[in-house]
Symmetry: C2
Subunit: 177 residues, 2 copies
């Protein structure tokens, strides 16, 4: 079960159009076994998306977004999300079915992200006039970009990557004053 989801993630993140046969091979089971557990390819993918969304939610919760100082929460959340999103890139990149539980989770995550950003703004880390929705989108984009990972990033630890993301989000590329 878990093996199937992990195999599916591995294969589909490389080729989103991969066949059930390839997924089964990656999971180390027979194709029919997958069909016995998931009514259809679609059902498998939805389960995959939901499972990944739950892991992402846990990753954010672990960063104590409501209680830790904004600066700290931002960093910890970034580290956790980098790890989860790295392992479930395909599942999390899936367009969430409107009304699905996965979609609800992602919306909730979005709200929670905005909350952290508001706290960061209250701490003068973010400009008063900033459009937090845009800041959130930039943050997501930076996370995504870090995951593409140039060759150099391979042997850099997650903490360093996270620090770079947060720094870029807050200060951009301009000269430090």
């Amino acid at each position: 079960m878990r093996a199937i989801l992990e195999g599916a993630e591995r294969v589909l993140s490389v080729d989103p159009g991969a066949s059930m046969e390839q997924i089964a091979a990656a999971a180390g089971v027979a194709r029919t076994t997958i069909h016995r557990r998931f009514a259809s390819r679609q059902a498998l993918i939805e389960t995959l998306a939901l499972d990944a969304a739950r892991q992402l939610a846990r990753a954010v919760d672990d960063g104590r977004p409501d209680t830790a100082p904004a600066q700290v929460a931002l960093h910890r959340i970034t580290v956790n999300v980098l790890e989860v999103k790295g392992a479930w890139a395909f599942a999390l990149g899936l367009p969430a079915e409107p009304g699905s539980e996965a979609a609800a989770l992602h919306e909730d995550l979005g709200r929670r992200c905005i909350t952290v950003l508001e706290r960061a703004r209250a701490d003068k880390l973010i400009d008063e006039a900033a459009d937090l929705e845009w800041v959130r989108r930039v943050y997501y984009a930076l996370l995504g970009e870090s995951l593409h990972g140039s060759a150099d990033d391979a042997d850099v630890d997650t903490d360093t990557l996270a620090a770079r993301i947060v720094d870029t989000l807050l200060h951009g590329a301009g000269p430090r004053s």
Copy 2:
């Protein structure tokens, strides 16, 4: 010919796995007509990618990356690229075949982007110590994010979007000093 490429872009940007039948319908031609011009689905997609890469190259050239002041070039290039990338999102998102002409164009674009950033750094727009390769990736990510376009962005002109991208790239979300 042009109609086929444009139809393919329209359809494939919505569903990358769309059939030749759907592409033909979008292009306003019969499926067999496409097969007469393109030896295979693969050939069509490669042509699409190459065509889009060429348009992107032209968009960058139009921004005078080597002669205009860095600030100006950055803005103009951003505007142009936003327009081209908005219209050819699928084709430009395609992983370029190693060694292909499209890949060469993209590599060249990358180098040209770095050059502009170096000029911006010389003008004190970018921090001395900044890793320009990372800055470039952030720039690409911001471009991509702007194209996803939240509902609000729909009725905002390209100039405003570009200004926001450049501003975020240089200053981030932090407070302005």
